[in-house]
Amino acid sequence: MIELRGVTVKSGSFVLPSISLQIQSGEYAVLMGTTGRGKTTLLESICGLRRVAEGQVLIHGRDVTRWSPADREIGYVPQDFALFPTHTVLEHLEFALRLRKLPRGVVKERTHELSEVLGIGHLLSRSIVGLSGGEAQRVALGRALSFRPSVLLLDEPLSALDESTRHEMHDLLRRVKQTTGVTTLHVTHSVSEAESLADRCFWLAADGIQERPVSQTY
């Protein structure tokens, strides 16, 4: 479960006003709003990359507001994917597992499982240079899911993809949701994406955040 209680973030002159929301375990929530409202800032605050000035961030009831990103166990896919330029695709999937010092067999089994689900088995030995947008997206998603996080944050992950790849990714994200039951907060501008994936939809405006039916987002 993701819970925000009066979360306020300040960055220079930009202020993200007091935000409160609750996303239940296993729910797929979509966050929408016009550009520059602070959607990315909010995701970064949840995963610990941005300091929260006021309020609390709770993950499964535990206050993680002052925890380091490493301790929050949240999978995060940023808008630009931020893949590691010196790592192969396989090394991306192994990265979080190796940090947790899991046995070699477990790492191998998990990376095999992920590559099957994401359809990137044929890419494992490749460098990330030259991957298509869809392939890079799958690698970033696999990296974020590798350590079986209970919360997944996606920041406009499909915005750079073409129409057919986007539909493939909708199917993939639905499959991930069904198989892992991960609680997801997905930032997007696309109504079709929200309609296709969301259990709930939030709208971030200048005066705060509101929950709206998906059809009334724009």
């Binding site: 990103p69 490493a70 949240i74 630009d80 931020a82 010196t86 990265f95 979080a96 990296r143 350590f147």
Partner: protein, 277 residues
């Protein structure tokens, strides 16, 4: 009236552009080439080999290779964390550190040497850095080879910091941030994500530091002296040979330095750009 041909006009403009830009650029390249040609014409192969055969020059060559390499390694060792901190973090007083780093670059070389000499010999409440190192650790610095390395390091490190900072500035910090969400500490994100990406910057920083150390003269003369067979490096050899009126040997050593610099720059550039593979 017939309209002027825009295609021809643009082509003339482009030609003029390349002539002006190329002409200005060529003047500098020509100057360097002429300097080297003049040196080569001034000396002869026999004079060059005779200079190289002198034990003083051989000792200076060995000390130069050793001190430049140590100074460059130290410069990269210090420049990498400092460049990373300056690039990635905003903190109170960052501009002060930024300015301090540049001081060895803008300071007149003799002043830097003099400052090092004063630092090591200034008594502070009955304590002196040089005495403490010499008597406490058995490691005297002034007028010995460590002074050569320290003098070279003081300037080379400033260039190394600048290079590493630009390297990290050009790298997207997002990958390190994502690594932290995956379970990395800041240190692990630095070692496993940032540093491997900065490999070319490291090679460049090493190259620049090495080349800068090779050309260092003023601070070495003041802080390490120019004692033959002890603190003499190639840059001071040129000065010593000139001071005793041996212009042929001075030019021969100069050419040796040019060759050394070219070899190191080419080898490291090939390594840095991956052309070797």
């Amino acid at each position: 009236m017939a309209a002027s041909n825009p295609w021809r006009s643009r082509r003339t403009s482009d030609t003029l552009f390349f002539l002006v830009m190329g002409g200005i650029s060529a003047s500098f390249i020509l100057l360097i080439v002429l300097l080297l040609v003049a040196d080569v014409m001034f000396t002869s192969p026999s004079e060059f080999y005779r200079a190289l055969a002198k034990p003083e020059i051989r000792a200076a060559l060995q000390l130069t290779l050793f001190s430049c390499t140590v100074a460059a390694i130290l410069s990269v060792w210090v420049g990498t964390p400092l460049g990373y901190l300056l690039s990635r973090y905003s903190f109170r007083g960052r501009w002060v550190i930024d300015t301090l780093v540049d001081i060895p670059i803008v300071l007149p070389p003799l002043v830097l040497g003099l400052s090092l000499l004063i630092l090591f010999h200034q008594p502070i409440a009955g304590w002196q850095l040089e005495s403490a190192l010499r008597d406490g650790l058995g490691f005297p610095v002034t007028y010995r080879w460590p002074a050569v390395v320290l003098a070279q390091f003081s300037v080379a490190c400033a260039f190394s910091v600048r290079t590493m900072r630009v390297t990290f500035d050009q790298m997207n910090p997002r990958a390190e941030e994502v690594a932290r969400t995956l379970g990395c500490t800041r240190g692990q994100a630095f070692w496993q994500i940032a540093l491997p990406q900065a490999s070319r910057g490291l090679v460049t920083a090493f190259t620049i530091a090495w080349a800068r150390a090779l050309g260092e003269f003023g601070p070495i003369m003041v802080f390490a002296g120019t004692t033959r067979m002890r603190t003499e490096v190639l840059s001071t050899s040129v000065f010593l040979e000139l001071s005793i009126g041996n212009l042929d040997a001075a030019v021969a050593v100069s050419l040796l330095m040019v060759m050394l610099a070219v070899v190191v720059l080419v080898v490291l550039r090939v390594l840095g750009t991956g052309l070797a593979s």
